[in-house]
Amino acid sequence: MPKLKLPVPPLPPSMRPPPKRPGAPKTKPLDAAQEAGIYTVDWIDERTSLSGGLRWLMFRKVPKGTNWFYTLGSATMFAFVSQAITGVFLAMYYRPDAAGGAYESVRHINDDVFLGEFVHGMHKWGSSVMVILIFLHMARTFFFGAYKYPRELNWVIGVALLILTFVMSLTGYLLPFDQRSYWATIVANNITASGPFVGPYLGDFLNGGAEFNATTLSRFYAIHMMLVPGIIGALIGAHLYLVAKLGTTAPPWVKAKPADELTEERA
């Protein structure tokens, strides 16, 4: 007998399965398969207690007035996941070799590899989509006042994620290693380096030396595919935890119903 109990989906009465009739129940193959599935999930849940956390995360109460604007955060996360998946596959063909191998490998992806141009295009245009979505999500949070107490820390994490997304855009721009990538990176590194006192050292850190050199490309590649995605993933986890913990806000046009004891009885 499975112990796992998930909430009943909110179906209209006509669509709900009819209650079992008393009498001899006949076990059909479909029922057996369902039973096996439930048994497996139950076996895992008994040893991990995952269902409690999942129920806590997925079956939350949302305030009245929740609308499509509240999906922008999930949309941004979907864009990130899409970037991660296409990025992993691009990394299977890409070579961070500044002596010409990088450009050649991107040309190979675009011209020779089956669906290579499509996957590369997904990654290239998807990065713009992610930046647009993260800004829309930020605007939603701002205009709905969802950054206020007790959600300030989530705003701070979100800003860190925004900056890391920019870092991804900057480091990813160099990787095709064509003229545009090269000179855009020269300009970006020089902008960084033009800050007073510490600027030259930050520029040196990005270049991996005093000039653009052999390690610059591999450095950008490592930051782009390992360092920053890891940090983004961890911060998304923290961001989501706080969303689930604190709940979402109602839109500002939904008036909160005052508590009963605060409402004065009027004759």
Partner: protein
């Protein structure tokens, strides 16, 4: 009788089980400290070398050398000849840059030559724009260096004529050896064409700029030029 000593936090007289008389650190506390110290040592044994590995290139001395670019009679004093030199090894085309070279014109080039370089006969101008590092191009008809990115314009000597650049174009040390003009390390100049150790683009050298952008230790020693 001496002054009564304050009771130790951990001695047996406070009734802590297993504590010795006069003991100052309990064994539990000692073990916790040992475990933390071991963890800290193990972590730093991995973390510090990794950080040094990542940051090492910042402190590496940039290797300088002389590169021959052509015979001295190739160059005149009223026009620039573009030549290609290598500034970063091992990355092929991406490590090369163009240098514009002409003979020094005594009427025009009145800037002081540094000690040991009084016999410098050529002007070698870097194509790196001093706004943000795009490649400038010498336009003969206008006798100007023009940057394609953000519209920086420099005059015949490489001084700023217009646009966003903050100082004149960088130059290179040069000399004549074995019948060849050789291009040496880069140096930056201020408005009066006074020589400074190389700075990044976007760093002014006039007025407060020299204070805000001190030279970096890795590229500081201008007087110690490579001899071969």
């Amino acid at each position: 009788m001496p002054k009564k000593q304050a009771k130790s936090k951990y001695t047996a007289d406070r009734g802590i089980p297993g504590a010795f008389e006069g003991e100052t650190v309990t064994r539990r506390r000692f073990m916790v400290g040992t475990a933390h110290a071991t963890g800290a040592i193990a972590t730093s044994a991995i973390l510090l070398p990794s950080l040094g590995f990542a940051l090492g290139p910042l402190f590496e001395q940039h290797k300088q050398r002389w590169q021959p670019v052509g015979a001295p009679d190739e160059f005149t004093n009223d026009n620039y000849i573009p030549k290609v030199i290598t500034i970063a090894d091992g990355i092929g085309e991406a490590g090369k840059t163009t240098v514009y070279i002409r003979r020094r014109n005594p009427k025009l080039d009145t800037d002081q030559l540094p000690k040991g370089f009084e016999s410098e006969q050529f002007v070698a101008i870097s194509t790196r724009c001093m706004h943000l590092g795009c490649p400038v191009r010498y336009t003969e008809a206008a006798q100007r260096f023009i940057c394609p990115c953000h519209g920086g314009v420099y005059d015949f000597q490489g001084k700023v004529d217009g646009g966003p650049p903050v100082r004149p174009l960088d130059r290179f040390y040069n000399r004549v050896r074995n019948g060849q003009v050789e291009i040496g390390p880069r140096f930056s100049v201020n408005r009066e064409l006074k020589r400074f150790s190389p700075r990044n683009p976007g760093e002014p050298l006039d007025g407060i700029g020299g204070i805000l952008y001190p030279s970096r230790p890795t590229v500081r020693k201008l007087d110690k030029l490579p001899q071969d």
